[in-house]
């Protein structure tokens, strides 16, 4: 099963390797930005559309 920690966009927290940020580049009609959502390292990512294998 693919999990978040297997993804290129996952960055583990220094203080807690089991958790981290899912970082994504987003371009909307007006601007571009990087977005971060907190995730568990072991979270199931098999259905994630932005999953990119590390």
């Amino acid at each position: 099963m693919a999990t978040c920690k297997d993804c290129k966009g996952f960055f583990a927290r220094e203080d807690d390797q089991d958790r981290g940020d899912c970082v994504m580049r987003v371009t909307d009609p007006r601007q571009a930005y990087y977005k971060a959502v907190p995730v568990e390292a072991d979270k199931d990512a098999s259905k994630c559309s932005s999953f990119r294998k590390r």
Binding site: V26, Q31, A32, Y34, K35, A36, V37
Partner: protein
């Protein structure tokens, strides 16, 4: 060839744009690339014509995260329960860093999202189903989430709870919509903030809380006595403060982490990489610790604003950013030379943009009242320091310059004018006005400081720290001066005072007995009888509003709960109370916002003159005409409009009545008391209540019919009824005392760009402002009639009836004059020759 020629071309075209007064394009050509990117990146959050722009979506992540934790902590003290829920939101809501940006923080999980505050009134929550386009995809799923949220919150919101304790008769009349509007709860509110305290840093406040808790626990272990009993309730409040302060620090750290990740793994441009590392460093520092430089102070400020807007719907933005950030600007730019002026301007411009982009969902009827903006965010500039010396600094100038570059409609500025303001700062104010921004509004600082002392007894040094609590009302930003919630929810539809006086307290529009029975006007033997009835109706109307709002204020800690605001309120931290609890030393700064005020003076003057002085009409005839909504009495109506004295013409007959009405209200303002046992002065202004109430105020002796827009502005004369020009308006407005006759008085004036062009325009304005100050007025804001407006007036004359063109030796209602002349005036206006 090459660069130097290109520069000349660019400059000359900017010159040309200036001559054509195309300020938007001037700004676009002169601002930095960064500001240009950020400005154009803003998703417009204000509604136009009542509708949100395409692409704007409600943020559903926020309420969902909130309710998950909220329900987990059901049964705990309300402040604690809310603190847990808020902390969960701050830990988990998606965050983002936009390209080129340097100031972090947004309320919602993406730039096109607006937050929906659902904890205020369940009746209003239902409004969300009527919105098209703002429900996120997939719609069906979102609607289900919304339905679940509404199911849960129905009956649990702050106003739902308040409604259960109100006097039923008051509730019916208050809710009739005829006499007032607003929500007496801090669920829809605004608060002043004391940044002297906040900038100590959250860690310092946490230490203070810790100390208080230890001290209290010790007391609880000691001798039992009645004094220690209230302490039990304080502990969970302090705990709540701890939770949100810590969550606030973690929220900032999330940005720091993201910025570092981007710098290390994503960013290839070395300059931007450095910026990202600076952002990381900044967010690691604040709000935990005091700011050390301009970027940190702006960032700290913005985090605080964002955090408080996660907690509640803040419809205004009381702030004095030049005063707060000025020292950091001075240190960075002037002393350490760490920042160039241009770099500082980028930060200041972005501060305006970050504020402008905040969006909060409001129901359609409220949006119609605030066309195009999210709230009335009036920032305070200039003024004096507590010792009375000039507080204007380089940051004041930077904000004015940045405003002209980013040209946002919100926030706007209110400038605290005083006699020691330097000419260079006045010129900056003037440039903003000349560029058609419509701000700053000009406020008379000595008058308003005295006013604040007069009404609430704030010590003068504290009164001098004032900021606009909302659009107009000054409020100190000190420990005991700060106001945690919107006491101006006492908003009176003042035209009802004269309407009820003429109908024995009966409301002919909503068809019910509202005010007291003050007698059939046909039986009045003289004007004094009528005036007496007016006074009684005025008192009744104010009483019911003040009663309701007082109750809302006292009950707010029980019904809503403000852990974050309490954590940044020194007096709440010190006492372990909710910031909204009036018992914690609040001095009170309540006022009744007076919508549709001027109709009273004009109506009373018309009756006094025609019925009692000249006996041209009987009261019978007047009442018949009013009851017929003037239909069939048009000639008489025109007589009442044109030949009765009208406010704003420097005519003592009606101006004296205005003064008399205000003095009656002022007397009553001191009889009404707020929960801190302080006064309730009147503040005439309209926002857009003049339109809102058009179909709720019946025919009046000033010549209006049911359906007509009421006068705009708090003390502005009726549109087109100021026949003697702007100086006469100022003269009229100077006849009452702006210190003791009310809280503040909104005056709109139009000036023509023709008159204000060039150096002579500035000299004219300066002399005008000096007279404005000499006359003791507390407020004025200028509206420039630009050529776009005049063009539009040509196209749709019926929409621009009130536009007056005033040029050398000639003035007229624009729509009265011939097409050719109109064209010529527009041409002149554009070319700028007086």
């Amino acid at each position: 060839m090459g660069q130097s020629t290109a520069r000349t071309e660019k400059e000359s075209s900017v010159e040309e744009l200036k001559n054509r007064r195309e300020w938007w394009f001037v700004a676009e050509k002169t601002r930095s690339k960064r500001l240009d990117y950020l400005r154009k990146g803003v998703w417009k959050k204000g509604a136009i014509g009542g509708n949100y722009a395409p692409g704007i979506k409600i943020d559903l992540t926020f309420p969902q995260l909130f309710i998950d934790k909220w329900q987990e902590h059901e049964g705990e003290a309300i402040m604690l329960q809310k603190a847990h829920a808020l902390a969960h939101v701050l830990d988990n809501i998606p965050i983002f860093i936009t390209d080129n940006s340097q100031i972090m923080g947004y309320i919602g999980s993406a730039p096109h999202n607006i937050v929906w505050h659902w904890q205020g009134i369940s009746m209003v929550n239902e409004e969300i189903y009527n919105e098209e386009g703002i429900i996120p995809e997939p719609e069906e799923e979102s609607l289900e989430i919304l339905a679940n949220l509404n199911d849960y919150w129905g009956g649990r919101t702050a106003v739902d709870k308040l409604a259960r304790v109100l006097d039923p008769e008051d509730a019916v009349k208050f809710m009739s919509g005829a006499i007032g509007w607003g929500t007496p709860t801090s669920a829809a509110t605004y608060s002043t903030k004391d940044f002297d305290y906040i900038f100590k840093g959250f860690e310092a406040i946490l230490a203070e809380v810790e100390e208080r808790m230890e001290e209290t626990e010790e007391k609880l272990q000691g001798n039992p006595s009645p004094e220690i009993l209230p302490l039990y309730d304080k502990l969970p409040r302090w705990e709540a403060m701890q939770i949100v302060l810590e969550a606030g620090i973690r929220y900032a750290e999330r940005y720091a982490r993201l910025a570092r990740t981007l710098a290390e793994h994503f960013e290839s441009d070395p300059e931007r990489r450095e910026e990202l590392l600076r952002i990381a460093e900044t967010c690691e520092r604040v709000p935990a610790k005091p700011p050390r430089n301009l970027q940190e102070s702006l960032q700290f400020d913005h985090f605080v604003q964002v955090l408080s807007r996660y907690e509640t719907f803040e419809g205004a933005w009381p702030h004095r950013p030049d005063y707060i950030h000025g020292p950091y600007y001075d240190k960075d730019v002037n002393q350490d030379k760490r920042l160039s002026k241009e770099e500082a301007l980028d930060l200041v411009g972005e501060h305006l943009i970050r504020t402008h982009e905040v969006g909060i969902f409001a129901p359609k009827w409220a949006r119609e009242g605030l066309q195009g903006i999210t709230g009335t965010w009036v920032w305070t500039m200039g003024g004096v320091k507590p010792d009375g010396s000039d507080a204007c600094n380089d940051m004041t100038v930077a904000y004015m310059q940045a405003a002209r570059l980013v040209r946002v409609s919100n926030p706007t500025f209110g400038f605290r004018w005083h006699p020691k303001v330097k000419d260079e700062v006045m010129r900056e104010c003037f440039e903003c006005i000349r560029h058609g921004l419509g701000y700053p509004s000009m406020r008379n600082d000595p008058v308003l400081v005295a006013n604040t002392v007069h009404w609430y007894g704030h010590p003068v040094e504290e009164a001098r720290t004032w900021v606009h609590q909302a659009c107009m009302s000054p409020c100190p930003t000190t420990k005991y001066g700060c106001q945690p919630m919107r006491m101006a929810s006492a908003t009176a539809n003042c035209a009802k005072m004269i309407e009820y006086a003429l109908h024995d307290g009966y409301d002919p529009v909503v068809n019910m007995q509202m005010g007291p029975k003050t007698g059939d006007p046909r039986e009045f033997k003289d004007f004094e009888d009528l005036f007496g009835a007016w006074v009684k109706q005025m008192e009744w109307l104010r009483n019911i509003l003040v009663r309701t709002v007082n109750l809302g204020r006292v009950k707010d800690p029980e019904f809503f709960g403000r852990p974050f605001l309490s954590a940044i309120y020194e007096r709440a931290v010190e006492t372990g109370t909710d910031a909204c609890d009036p018992s914690n030393g609040d001095r009170g700064n309540a006022w009744v916002t007076g919508f549709t005020w001027v109709e009273n003076a004009d109506s009373l003057a018309a009756i006094k003159k025609f019925v009692y002085d000249e006996k041209k009409y009987t009261m019978d005839e007047v009442l018949d005409a009013l009851n017929a909504n003037w239909v069939g009495y048009e000639e008489m109506r025109l007589d009442f409009v044109k030949n009765a004295p009208k406010w704003g013409n420097d005519d003592d007959y009606v101006d004296d009545l205005m003064v008399r009405c205000l003095r009656e209200v002022s007397r009553h303002s001191k009889e009404n008391r707020c929960p801190s046992n302080n006064t309730w002065p009147l503040l005439p202004e309209n926002v857009s209540g003049n339109i809102h109430y058009a179909n709720l105020v019946g025919a009046l002796p000033n010549g209006r019919r049911l359906g007509d827009a009421l006068y705009d502005g708090g003390i502005s004369p009726g549109p087109g009824l100021d026949k003697k020009g702007p100086t006469a308006v100022l003269k009229s407005c100077g006849k009452f005392d702006h210190v003791t006759d009310g809280r503040a008085f909104l005056l709109n004036q139009r000036l023509s760009p023709t008159q204000l062009s060039g150096e002579k325009g500035y000299q004219l304005w300066k002399a005008y402002m000096k007279t404005w100050a000499d006359l003791g007025l507390d407020h004025v804001q200028f509206n420039m009639v630009d050529d776009a407006t005049l063009r539009a007036a040509q196209k749709d004359p019926e929409k621009y009836q009130e536009v007056i063109v005033r040029v050398a030796g000639y003035s007229a209602h624009f729509v009265d004059i011939s097409r050719k002349t109109q064209d010529n005036i527009i041409q002149r206006t554009v070319q700028g020759l007086g």
